[in-house]
Symmetry: D2
Amino acid sequence: MSHRDGMTLTSSGFFVSQEAPIHTDNPVPTPQAPAPDILRCAYMELVVTDLAASRKFYVDVLGLYVTEEDAEAVYLRSTEEFIHHNLVLRQGEIAAVAAFSYRVRAAEDLDKAVAFYEELGCRVERRAEGWTKGIGESVRVTDPLGFPYEFFFQTEHVERLSWRYDLHTPGELVRLDHFNQVTPDVPRAVKFMQDLGFRVTEDIQDDEGTVYAAWMRRKPTVHDTAMTGGDGPRMHHVAFATHEKHNILAICDKLGALRMSDRIERGPGRHGVSNAFYLYLRDPDGHRVEIYTQDYYTGDPDNPVVTWDVHDNQRRDWWGNPVVPSWYTEASLVLDLDGNPQPVVARTDSSEMAVTIGADGFSYTRPDDADEMPTWKQGEYKLGHQL
Amino acid sequence: MSHRDGMTLTSSGFFVSQEAPIHTDNPVPTPQAPAPDILRCAYMELVVTDLAASRKFYVDVLGLYVTEEDAEAVYLRSTEEFIHHNLVLRQGEIAAVAAFSYRVRAAEDLDKAVAFYEELGCRVERRAEGWTKGIGESVRVTDPLGFPYEFFFQTEHVERLSWRYDLHTPGELVRLDHFNQVTPDVPRAVKFMQDLGFRVTEDIQDDEGTVYAAWMRRKPTVHDTAMTGGDGPRMHHVAFATHEKHNILAICDKLGALRMSDRIERGPGRHGVSNAFYLYLRDPDGHRVEIYTQDYYTGDPDNPVVTWDVHDNQRRDWWGNPVVPSWYTEASLVLDLDGNPQPVVARTDSSEMAVTIGADGFSYTRPDDADEMPTWKQGEYKLGHQL
Amino acid sequence: MSHRDGMTLTSSGFFVSQEAPIHTDNPVPTPQAPAPDILRCAYMELVVTDLAASRKFYVDVLGLYVTEEDAEAVYLRSTEEFIHHNLVLRQGEIAAVAAFSYRVRAAEDLDKAVAFYEELGCRVERRAEGWTKGIGESVRVTDPLGFPYEFFFQTEHVERLSWRYDLHTPGELVRLDHFNQVTPDVPRAVKFMQDLGFRVTEDIQDDEGTVYAAWMRRKPTVHDTAMTGGDGPRMHHVAFATHEKHNILAICDKLGALRMSDRIERGPGRHGVSNAFYLYLRDPDGHRVEIYTQDYYTGDPDNPVVTWDVHDNQRRDWWGNPVVPSWYTEASLVLDLDGNPQPVVARTDSSEMAVTIGADGFSYTRPDDADEMPTWKQGEYKLGHQL
Amino acid sequence: MSHRDGMTLTSSGFFVSQEAPIHTDNPVPTPQAPAPDILRCAYMELVVTDLAASRKFYVDVLGLYVTEEDAEAVYLRSTEEFIHHNLVLRQGEIAAVAAFSYRVRAAEDLDKAVAFYEELGCRVERRAEGWTKGIGESVRVTDPLGFPYEFFFQTEHVERLSWRYDLHTPGELVRLDHFNQVTPDVPRAVKFMQDLGFRVTEDIQDDEGTVYAAWMRRKPTVHDTAMTGGDGPRMHHVAFATHEKHNILAICDKLGALRMSDRIERGPGRHGVSNAFYLYLRDPDGHRVEIYTQDYYTGDPDNPVVTWDVHDNQRRDWWGNPVVPSWYTEASLVLDLDGNPQPVVARTDSSEMAVTIGADGFSYTRPDDADEMPTWKQGEYKLGHQL
């Protein structure tokens, strides 16, 4: 990532700069083969241990629409989606992520994906049309970071339900917004994703240049996926967007009414990173789901990259509300192409939680005022080392 | 308060009953003199130690309107108010509350207030018109619970700014909603307030009948004031209402932009009690201000009283988000009629914080499921005994 | 009503004054008997000609909750209601209003109602408990203005659904807000309602003192009922409140999705009068229903009365959008106590529609600028005399 | 455009199909030269006749941010913009549009633009950096449809104000969303725009295949520009997006408070086309500005094209509210590269207004129910032929 010296401090307390090549000690080589042209994150395939319970959570509580279902799987989509699904719930033994699936621009991009990943020595499999319901031919890989990625172009079209206000709920989920992945070495991961054609929009660093997390996009929003520093490969969350903030509050209210408020892990709140309004839930298997709204357009090639200081207490929550420790430490396993969990490798760089809360960390609201947390905030920032 | 045996359990997890006479071991005697006819909570007089800093907080940040000001005091009102002010900021040595002021129906009610409190042996003073700017003749008392109460009818009328959308901010405060007082013995306080003509709308109890807090109203909302169990007399908070939830979120966003997010103590969230959407801020002196919206109509004489179990983790926050300890323990001093702080008497009944979090407390999302708090909630509920 | 000379012009373009005795040439005598103590408008009984169609409109489309139903009638309530119902749909031959029903403070107020109306020579009937399901003993009268009024205190309590967010729809109706009646002689009607204990909050006048409409309250909102000048007695509309403005927009969106947009008669928009956000619908029989949110507190005895100039084009819609002629001319019949439609008497005072639009009328956005309506507004204000 | 025979009728009443080559009798030839790679609509240059009045409208009323200004021009941007401006107000004699300006992906695209338009015989001019403040080298053309188009890549970066909530107003405009152009022959215009690299997202047709309007995009929203059938070349409107619907309502409320409600031409409402919530204003020169929020993602290559029946009364307003005639007939002149107004050519195809309202038109809410407009809608749909 860029060094902070070359950045411009904004009036909001973060820095901006132009995206730069990543320096990393242990890079994944850049393939000669061109990357496939990825349109957007398209769907996640989740393995769940109780399909009925998960269906209830995603359909009855969150209001996703069932495109199709059978005894083993439920195929769900958000309001404005016209491809077959944005989420597959598949019954299995171990809760995990089977695929982070991206749509590419054309059928030819599948061949590019094969060449790109094979050059890197990755395991690559072509799957025939219908291997996943509603999806045409696809390519599945275990990527150099250990994640199960899928690429496809062909898909069944279904009806966009944007105009079907008679079906909408107060907490309507309108589109799949992004994935978030946990990986030990963030600069290594970002450099690889740049080779795959992703553009960095925001990151969190300290002044020694340690990178704690980074956000990357193909479609012109803040991200299609993010890399969160931690023990990985694991899946941090999958995020759906609503139209307005009250839709997110309505989900909280409904969870309260159903006496399911313990599904709320963190939020609602306003992110510093992305400027979006957010909520984090945990599904019946503990898979984390974010509900998200109102980030910003990032589609220009010179879109300013935003860099946050890891000690800025407004970076993760603009209102300075604390991040619950589980949010930093817990994440979902990911599977290899045989359906076995990938081993998890520990992060060796500093932990964001450790450097910001607890005895060895610090956070500030105003950079010059780091010792001045009021009493009502102190308990929260002691929490880390108490656990 | 009513015993839970006579209550009806609702499908939302709380109980309802009809208001009943309070049994308390140490009652304030019921005066023979009739109570004054109180319309509503009208304004609070706050002593602040840095008038310029407080003015900045309430005017520049929160957007209250200045009706009048001089070197010693600023008189502020909310958007739809037509009386002179809802808040007086007065420069002083010690941050405290000088008056909880209520408007009565007619000038004759001042005589009733004098008789009512004199019969109770309270110190009572009549103040001439203009003693407080914009307010006609008033009666100030130190009530049997130790609080400085004021009653007035006459006031200067000012323009309601409801239609002045050119002046409104994204976080517009439209009316003064309620006060909240800290007092050691809640049943004693509630019984006294009933004698003063207040009606109970909600309370928090345990199954032995210990009362932790109660809400009482004159105008037909959930409250004009509440009694929160704790060391007192102290002022817990003063609350202003917005029209919509996004107005409250906008206040948080603005505090973030001003790098004042550490003014946010708790929330935003949805209350169980009152069903309102809320946010708690702390002003430059630490006085607590709530921003509040969307409770319900309570004006019928048989309005059901709502009773919450103190162990119900959704009573204070419908989404189950934790209450920061300072919210339970910190409050503002109140003054006697000479302007000296009232001594604070310790609560001897159980503390709500102690019985709900920490080693000796417990909270549930579902009554049958008390041991099942997920990992992301456990840290929060350990917090109490760690401090 | 007050003459404009004694009023204060506000910065928003309307006038304020204190409520004054009404001068009217043809008053209803003031009874010696005291008026019953009315709490609030409580429910309307509507006769509908196709019960299934009306049920579909109010339950499936608008989301009111069914408390009880049988072959002849459906009893509906809004989210936060704890009395049995706010609306009765009763199958009948002729679409009409059978009762404007108000709740009184105590059972004794029924006797007061009897004496009050009998002194006026009105037809008065006591109805036994259960005559209307869920309602105890009641008094029904044909009032001096020809309207079927009901008063009751006793009622079955039902569960408030405010916390049942799992049941709420995007267009949730949270409470019954008000009625609106059409009557030929507004000052006569207002004077009578003052005798019944109502307080005036707003009115529309011209500078000769002709009164076109007036709003009156018992509960401290802008109104429990209003008197709209026109041929009457007829029912102009019944209004339900939502929490937020987006709830009203959601109703419009849903009607579009159901291809029922022709149920929308006027709005959504912002009223000048009341400052509330509004929408007018027409039910399957043409009964008009308003959806309404965010007026202001009016409970102080010296609450300023707001007077609008009939030519102020922002009085009915703060955004200057035109009022569709049907809104002025169409209204529902009302029934006598035998269930027969009351004869309709023509208004002889000037018509608000005639004086504001068309060849003989005029409207202004700015008082000094009456000839300056831009081209996009001219068509609208010609509309009246073209029909 | 596609013929309706090959389209799929949706449950919402419109049709979907895949984008197809346009058949038009009088096509602009397809250049051999490749089109420039356009990112998005970037800014409009408006000539205004009273710069101070226009500045007041766009800055003081609508809240756009001034990046820079001088005696002749004001450069304005929306909240999240990081390029120099989204709107230039330039003092001039005749109110008109001087440029529809698009940002391209790279400096090389300027050469492509020159070649593309020169091959078509258009007048093309290169403008040096700084010819427009904040903009680098640019290419300006009079396109084959008669519109002044600009292309640029280089621009000064300014601070994104998304996090500056302390500056935001209740009606905050967050981004430039789209342009809308009036042209006599819509299929001819669309075919040309496809050659320029635009993709069609929606259109309005009748069953003989007459096209009344079409929407086209580069960035993945419903449009960067639209072609509205009518006398042209003229500019129909420029549109800014808000985050939420209440932001748009706040603009209406503020215009009312400023007694400028006559600036509101149409709305607020929900579009059928685009599914967005909208409002149309007219600036001091009559230039039309739309405020717009919440359309849908269109970035996939097989994004379904939505086709609306011109007689569907919900196509322009999903709630069936009438379109004011001025909205169809009035538009702004556009300038040639010397700053002279382009001559306006009359549309010869059917007029959307004529075929939908008035004696020779018809509109339906439900296709099988065309004669059943209720009385409150009839006046509106007669309006057309009455003018």
